[in-house]
Symmetry: C2
């Protein structure tokens, strides 16, 4: 095996699905691209890695709510665009022509173009590690959408899209929560 | 948009790469499959979601070290097998015929069959959220390996493998750390 620079190790781990995080600061909606996420249980609890370097962080931690919108590969250039400008000087819903839908439990909007939207409340902020813990209040999916392949960031400016699917439900049965 | 049961929301977020976590409890090597991981910075800091329900957790938190081994799609059945039995009653290195290599900084072994191996130290355990924070001490990659497609768990017993790659380095330039 060859040594890999530690600074490249994250490119092996990063590949969760890229998500969009919509917030509302009291006056404006904003949205950011996040690719550092983690599942914490089977009941809709998630972690994000974010911090004060993201403009949305102030609204997220002050209002303690957001929408996680899940984009698919057809939205890649919007997703990268949203992730490379700032809500400090850009109305991103306008610039990227995103269509808002009203959420049920939170003030930030759902994003109609996305495959799914999760309305979330901030349960905790672990400032020592820049981790925000979210719980899902309600979840919505677009059943009519044909493109359902998610985007995985490698972290070096390249992305991979979902490939072939493998079914190991039978082997996994003892580990699966009921109803999934 | 249709309502999605909150208990299925994790299947949208879970899809980071599945990793193997090797530990050593003083007497035996053990290895577990983890699909809930998150990047915390560009310098090799990662989070895992794990807890006392995993046999490896005791060794991980007592010795505060592990190896994260990154498997590829050709290893899918070993990965699922490792994730559906317990080190409490199974020698998994033996059962799944994994080849050990000596790590440089930690006692648990590297796994030769994997694409990459990260030697890690436990920096913190956030017990309230079942989060273990790891820092990478050294990283190794197998440059001769032809199969390099990672495994993404959906969480329902199915897995997707990496598909086509999209290059957006130019668009992302302002957000990329140097040297990646």
């Amino acid at each position: 095996m060859r040594d890999l620079p530690i600074g490249k190790a994250f490119t092996l781990i990063e590949r969760g699905p890229v998500v969009l995080v919509a917030t509302h600061d009291g006056a404006h909606d904003n949205i950011m691209t996040i690719s550092w996420t983690m599942v914490l249980d089977f009941a809709g609890t998630f972690a994000l890695c974010t911090g004060p370097w993201n403009h949305s962080y102030a609204a997220l931690t002050a209002t303690r709510e957001c929408v996680l919108a899940i984009p698919t590969i057809d939205l890649l250039d919007k997703v990268v665009g949203i992730g490379t400008c700032s809500g400090a000087d850009t109305d991103k819903f306008d610039t990227f022509r995103l269509t808002r839908a009203k959420a049920r439990h939170v003030r930030p909007p759902l994003v109609r173009e996305c495959l799914a939207n999760l309305e979330c409340r901030v349960r905790d902020v672990v400032r020592a590690h820049n981790i925000v813990v979210l719980e899902t209040l309600s979840a919505h999916i677009d059943p009519a959408r044909r493109e359902r392949r998610l985007i995985h960031a490698i972290g070096d400016g390249t992305f991979v899209v979902d490939g072939r699917r493998f079914d190991r439900r039978d082997m996994m049965r003892s580990k699966l929560p009921p109803g999934v």
